[in-house]
């Protein structure tokens, strides 16, 4: 077509009259004429193939090109073309002809060029270009060659990549669509994955506000014709793009986009120019996306395809957006990039995160490029507003964000779920002759046989949540348990305080301050570090607020424990026996565990640490099952997860780490013995997954000890200062307001913490079930393992309980709460495994002739005695959660009881002015001794109790108060005032002799006190502030906290599951 004036403008240096067609009558006329011409049945198509190192795919591409059948494709009877002349059946006139194939080879170093030259697809005109030639340049060269060598310019140019193989009817269908839609200027095929062939890649693309290439497809979506409608889209890929030559000569590809993203930009500019881009899904091109996937590295892609893509996307977005949107876009891109980079780092993809940031920096730091691009677009008279309707909707990025979060959550909760399956497979692979392998093969064959068609399976899987709930008694039971937990735990809603639970601080900043400070003005001032639970509380509290955090933890922990117990028991059951655990039993046991913190009394007493620790414990056990993974990499991943969860449990219940130490020590000893005995192949009680492959104890146990080390490392800012300041007792004490619960004798195996626990009979039932679980021989080893864990926990409790720690005027043993809950969990697990052994269906048996010859005939029936035992045990196990739930629903917890206030409100008001206005509380009487404590501010809040308890009272304070109470003098009063004491309180019943001494002291004025108590105000000046002694502790603390937070991020990243399963292209050639 001579004269480019039919097209308006173009990229660099166009002399054409700018403006859209409405504004130019002549151009419109010319266009109509042009369209009439193009309607001619014999379209002239020039194929333009750009190749670079594509020998792997080129033969396929060329074959596909050679197969092109340009006769009119058959039109389905039910899908008549909306307009235009449908081709009559039988008449298969060719729609056009390929007049020229131009191949531009950009400096391939492989056999690409030879392949092109030898191609049998008619006259191939090979243009040899430099290796540094960009894609737009290559296309420009190819178009130039086309136009210069053909006498009559082609009506269409068909762009192909060297890794894009068209289906035989691809071009014909594109041409047919072009004929049906004369307004179309760019037509793109449906792209499917090469070589999988059925997965959809693109059916037209658009761009979201964050520069994401939106295909509107699910990842890996199969092509079932669900997107087969010709639509107007923003852009189509250049692989298989049928485009009018004028578009390429006038609009062209932007040379600033050397490889990636030029298609989107072209489509966007075409849309801005008022041109029409259609996707023709009936035309199919198979695309390997070699550069995108990093399969092909060129000078242009570099090693970071993502960088190139992202840079191109950002440039496209900024160059084509309406001017008003640009500042907002820049802001959004900066924030979005930061967020995405963070997410990628968290998913262990630091390289890609770097690409994201680098791309943004590359675009933003060179605004001249974007400005030049925008100038050119403005000069060409493009109106970005026209492209607006074709862009992705504004909510699209948020949906992707939600999807990503959902994927991570799913992956986190599902990890290690299939450990049993993977172990079986690994065992079968290692020893194909084994019974396990035979059984697995039999199962697979049965599964294949039972498999109905995909559609039916899909429909079954798609059944709604409500339908599944209503048809499954287990699901109903699960919902009921959750309901019970939430209803019974309603006390925790709203501001909750009472029992061992101190009030939450006023703001989450208090928690952060507590965690980051080396010195606390609590009590008499102390350098005891904050308990480790403050960090998780602060992290959660930063989102929810401190009060809601405490409520949420207490209210929802039961549900979290339920989920964890369910998952752990399911996997443990499968590990113990391939049949797994019946779901009803699983439900009963998980519910029993979820209720354990309540029935033990910990919940009602407000022992937040134990409640949270118990909720995380099954997740920790679940993660520890990952040590049984046959794959070393998965075991390492399990190590990070176990370390992280162990640190979390330990921060709420410090004994957990010691328990883990003892259990791991014992397992290591067992493993060492087993290895020394050469006991290969036998699955040990440790569940550590010993394989026949020779392994040293070191390799085997490294992840276990690694997890311990990770937990210890994460808790460094807690235990190191505890040791440095001489308070090792804090490593073993129960969290919360001291004293911890009293645990004596059998209560430790009955899961009772103190007097406010559920009736013993429930726990006795569980104990009996756990003993009876040793009866079935099949699961005896894992049941014994559970008992061993319980035994180790008892031994730990025996030792730690005997340790005597003096906290103020109390002598207390170590905190055994988590050991007791661990024992409950171990006994529950034992009971479940035992019951499962006699109730689960008999395993599928391999079709082994030696077995089928057996007289029993392999009938999966069990002896009546075993079934009876199973039923009895099952009932026993079910009694525990039912009784526990009934008790929990009717119990009156100590939580939410108003704490007894010994300090009058007016003193608290005064104390709130500053830490130097302390209130000295003197309890006891002369004959049995007095104890003193100072309250600062509004009194200890959650997280401070442990500090105050461990800090104790310095001798100077005891001396000063003793002097005041024995030889009162103005000097004695001054000394007490100097400690930061404004009020003295003797709570009821006040010892009159002590009061008389204080009454006789000058410098003390009587103050009003509650009935039976006495109080005095110190009339001497208190210091201006309670001074921080400073010293080296502050910087050390800061360093430790920074180290901890960094370590936490690293561990989180390393413990995170692999969400982004990398799509690997198998080394197979397409077989189309």
């Amino acid at each position: 077509m001579p004269g480019s004036s039919v097209f308006f403008g173009g990229l660099p240096g166009s002399l054409a009259v700018p403006g859209p067609r409405r504004r130019c009558g002549a151009a419109t006329l010319a266009r109509v004429v042009f369209r009439l011409v193009s309607l001619a049945p014999h379209a002239r198509v020039a194929v333009l193939l750009v190749s670079h190192d594509g020998e792997r795919w080129l033969p396929g591409v060329l074959a596909g090109l050679a197969e092109q059948d340009l006769s009119a494709p058959p039109v389905p009877e039910d899908a008549a073309a909306p307009d235009g002349a449908p081709s009559a059946p039988g008449r298969r006139d060719p729609l056009g002809e390929i007049v020229r194939v131009v191949a531009v080879d950009t400096g391939s170093r492989d056999a690409s060029r030879d392949l092109l030259q030898a191609a049998e697809v008619g006259p191939v005109d090979v243009v040899v270009a430099e290796a540094t030639t960009t894609y737009p340049e290559a296309v420009a060269q190819g178009v130039a060659r086309c136009l210069s060598t053909l006498e009559e310019p082609p009506t269409w140019i068909w762009l192909l990549h060297d890794d894009a193989r068209p289906a035989p009817d691809a071009l014909a269908r594109l041409l047919a669509a072009a004929a049906d839609h004369p307004e179309a200027d760019l037509l793109g095929p449906k792209l499917r994955e090469w070589p999988s062939l059925r997965r959809l890649l693109e059916v037209g693309v658009t761009m979201s506000g964050t520069g994401r290439r939106e295909t509107g497809l699910e990842p890996g979506e199969f092509d079932q014709g669900q997107h087969d409608a010709v639509r107007r889209v923003l852009a189509v890929s250049t692989a298989g793009l049928l485009v009018r030559p004028e578009v390429l000569t006038e609009l062209g590809l932007d040379p600033r986009l050397p490889l990636f993203g030029s298609d989107l930009d072209l489509g966007w500019r075409a849309a801005s120019a008022g041109l029409t881009t259609l996707v023709v899904p009936e035309a199919v091109v198979f695309h390997a996306e070699a550069a995108h996937r990093g399969l092909r590295r060129t000078a242009l892609t570099g090693t970071h395809a993502r960088f190139g893509e992202r840079r191109a996307a950002l440039y496209t977005l900024l160059a084509n957006a309406t001017p008003r949107r640009v500042p907002w876009l820049v802001l959004r891109l900066v924030l979005g990039t930061a967020l995405r980079a963070l997410g990628l780092v968290l998913l262990r993809a630091p390289g890609e995160a770097l690409d994201e940031v680098a791309a943004l920096v590359a675009v933003v730091l060179r605004p001249a490029q974007v400005r030049a691009g925008r100038r050119e677009r403005a000069a060409a008279g493009l109106d970005p507003a026209r492209a607006r309707p074709l862009l992705a909707p504004a909510w699209m990025p948020y949906r992707h964000g939600l999807d990503a979060v959902g994927a991570v959550v799913t992956a986190v909760t599902q990890q290690a779920t299939d450990v049993a399956e993977r172990r079986r497979i690994a065992a079968a692979e290692a020893d194909p002759s084994s019974l396990a392998a035979a059984r697995l093969r039999a199962e697979r064959a049965a599964a294949r046989a039972a498999e109905t068609d995909d559609e039916a399976a899909l429909v079954a899987a798609d059944t709604g949540l409500a339908a599944r709930l209503l048809t499954s008694p287990v699901a109903l039971g699960l919902a009921a348990v959750v309901l019970v937990l939430l209803v019974a735990g309603r006390t925790a809603l709203g501001g909750v305080v009472g029992g061992a639970l101190s009030p939450a601080p006023a703001s989450v900043g208090d928690w952060w301050h507590l965690h980051t400070s080396a010195w606390h003005p609590l009590g008499w001032g102390t350098d005891v570090p904050a308990p480790p639970s403050v960090l998780p509380l602060a992290l959660l509290g930063s989102v929810l607020g401190p009060g809601a955090t405490v409520s949420a933890l207490l209210w929802l922990s039961g549900v979290v424990a339920l989920g964890g117990a369910w998952r752990f028991l399911r996997v443990a059951g499968r590990l113990a026996s391939p049949g797994g655990v019946p779901r009803g039993l699983l439900l009963a046991a998980a519910a029993a565990y979820a209720l354990a913190p309540a029935t033990s009394g910990a919940w009602g007493e407000g022992r937040l640490g134990l409640v949270v620790g118990a909720a995380v414990l099954p997740w920790l056990a679940h993660a520890a099952l990952g040590f049984a993974e046959p794959d070393a990499e998965r075991r390492r991943r399990a190590m990070w997860r176990v370390g992280l969860l162990l640190a979390l449990v330990t921060s709420f219940a410090p004994l957990a780490w010691w328990l883990a130490l003892v259990v791991i020590g014992a397992v290591t000893l067992l493993a060492a013995r087993a290895l020394a005995d050469g006991a290969h192949g036998a699955d040990g009680a440790d569940g550590a997954g010993r394989r026949r492959s020779p392994r040293t104890l070191r390799q085997l146990s490294a992840p276990w000890w690694g997890a311990l080390g990770i937990a210890a490392g994460l808790l460094l800012p807690w235990w190191l200062p505890l040791l440095l300041t001489g308070h090792p007792a804090g490593l073993l004490l129960e969290g919360g307001r001291p004293p911890g619960p009293t645990v004596e004798g059998l209560d430790v195996v009955l899961g009772r913490l103190g007097a406010d626990a559920a009736p013993r009979v429930l726990a006795v039932v569980l104990l009996l079930a756990a003993v009876a679980a040793l009866l079935p021989r099949a699961t005896r080893v894992p049941v014994l393992a559970c008992w061993s864990v319980a035994g180790l926990a008892v031994v730990v409790a025996l030792v730690v309980g005997r340790l005597e720690v003096t906290l103020g005027a109390l002598r207390t043993g170590g905190g055994l709460g988590i050991a007791v809950l661990t024992i409950t969990g171990a006994l529950l697990t034992a009971a479940v495994l035992g019951v499962a052994a006699v109730t689960r269906p008999a395993p599928i048996l391999p079709p082994d002739p030696s077995l089928s010859a057996e007289p029993a005939g392999g009938a999966p029936s069990r002896p009546a005695s075993a079934r009876l035992l199973g039923a009895a045990l099952g009932v026993l196990v079910a009694v525990v959660p039912l009784g526990g739930a009934a008790w929990f629903l009717t119990d009156d917890p100590l939580l939410d009881d108003d704490p007894v206030t010994v300090v009058p409100a007016y003193m608290l008001q005064s104390a709130a002015r500053g830490d130097q206005y302390g209130v000295l509380v003197v309890r006891g009487d002369l004959d049995t001794g007095l104890d003193i404590a100072v309250r600062r501010g509004t009194g200890p809040t959650l997280g401070q109790d442990e500090i105050v308890a461990l800090a104790g009272t310095p001798a100077r304070a005891v001396d000063a108060v003793t002097t005041l109470l024995s030889r009162p003098s103005p000097q004695a009063v001054d000394a007490v005032a100097a400690l930061g004491v404004e009020f003295l309180v003797l709570p009821a019943p006040a010892d009159g002799r002590v009061a008389a001494t204080l009454d006789a002291s000058a410098g003390l004025a009587q103050a009003s006190a509650p009935e039976g108590g006495r109080a005095w105000q110190v009339t001497r000046p208190v210091p201006d502030a309670v001074a921080d002694p400073g010293g080296a502790a502050g910087p050390l603390r800061t360093g430790l906290v920074v180290l901890q937070l960094l370590g936490l991020v690293v561990v989180l990243v390393l413990a995170a599951p692999s969400v982004r399963a990398a799509r690997r292209v198998p080394e197979e050639e397409p077989t189309s």
């Binding site: 194909p432 001291p738 004293p739 004596e744 008992w787 031994v795 002896p863 003193i932 006789a1000």
Partner: protein, 479 residues
Amino acid sequence: MSIPDPAPPTRRADRASQGARTVRGTRVDLRGFAAVLVLPVLVVGAALGVRSSADPLPARAPRTTPLALGTLVCPPGDGAVRVTSTATVPGTVAVADARTGEDDATPVEVRPGVVSTTRTGSGPVVVIGRDAAAPGLVAARVERPLAAAECRPPEVDVWFTGVGAGAKHRSTLQLTNPDEGRAVVDVTVFGRTGVVEATGLRGIAVPGGASRALDLATLLPRRDDLALHVVTSRGRISASVSDSYTEIGRGAAGIDAVPVQPAPARTLTLLGLPDGTGQRSLVIGNPGDAQTTVEVRLVTASSTFVPAGIEPVDVAPGSVVRVQIAPLLQQAARDAGGRGERLLGLELRAGAPITADLLMFVAGDLAHAGVAVPLERTALTPLPPGRRTLVLAGAPREGAVVVRTWDEAGQPLEPIRVDVAPGRAERVVLPEAARLLAVAPQGSEVRAAVLAEDDGATVLRPLQPILTGVVPDVVGGLP
């Protein structure tokens, strides 16, 4: 993932399939079960030894320290204040009107063996010894006709029994606050029919350096005998009760101080029974909330016994009972006299803690024989002139008492050693020249009282001076 096909059958594979036969049927294997049952038994056994509990620290008795500040408060009266001390070195104490305080004090030198006499007007007097002069202070106010008021340190909780609030028997409660701060006192009044409603005696505020005299006859006029429980709820108060009794047929009233009883007790000893035929009223208070029966015994030199003709006295809860025992005592005195013995005192035994007082008229003068408290260490009392008889009784075991006296000039007189034993009482007539008495029990605690007779009578109880202050055992506690 594909699983390779099985290798050709080997002996190993055969073994495996044989193993399967046993694994297949899950049999209840009792023998194996018994073997592994050892583990649960061990676990439960070990659990029995677990113990983790929080216990309060054991009781920690206070330490003692030399008294740093000795404060004695003498009730108002006309008599001179007599101050002495067990200190072995001379010291100076401050004697002042309690209402003006230490600033206007008269320094008084206290030397060993000497009773220093000071006149500071008729108001309440405070005696303050500091540091070295603080321990060992004893003071009393003695008047004529014979009446003696003990000067006591401020006390939190004291009892007075045999108090009157009528026209004939009339008592005044004196509350003195020696400190700067306000003090608050609650008085519970027990009468014949139970606790007496007395709103004016609840929450009595005594400002710093003030003394309040509460005339009971004005506040709660009634004719029965009363017992008072005086509790200082705030501040320090020294309480005393001065009592006047007009005996029928006599114009002048006898005056004396009602002795303080520190706390109700099940066994009480009242010492100092003068001869004569005057009124002898035993007043018993039962502050408890259950009725109790009180057995009255007589104490003589050789024995303690229940005399014929006296029934045990029932005392209703929260009430006070008066028993006229003059005839009984006269009869008993005659009986004892027949054996060559004297009645030296009374011993009351009750099922519940009680309070008591013996109200007597001797030669027209009122005298109260209060409860004698057990003495563990040297007790002192200044002696008024006249006939003085020391009675020692109530020793829980055999022991001795060294009785020392000093004359006006502070010269020691011949010490007397008296053996004491349970159930027995001793009577020592003190030398005429003695002005100061010290009773030093050895080997056993003992109760003591001095009956002074000379134009009337009064009973003085040797007082154990406060030597030490207590230092509470203080530990850091939990808020």
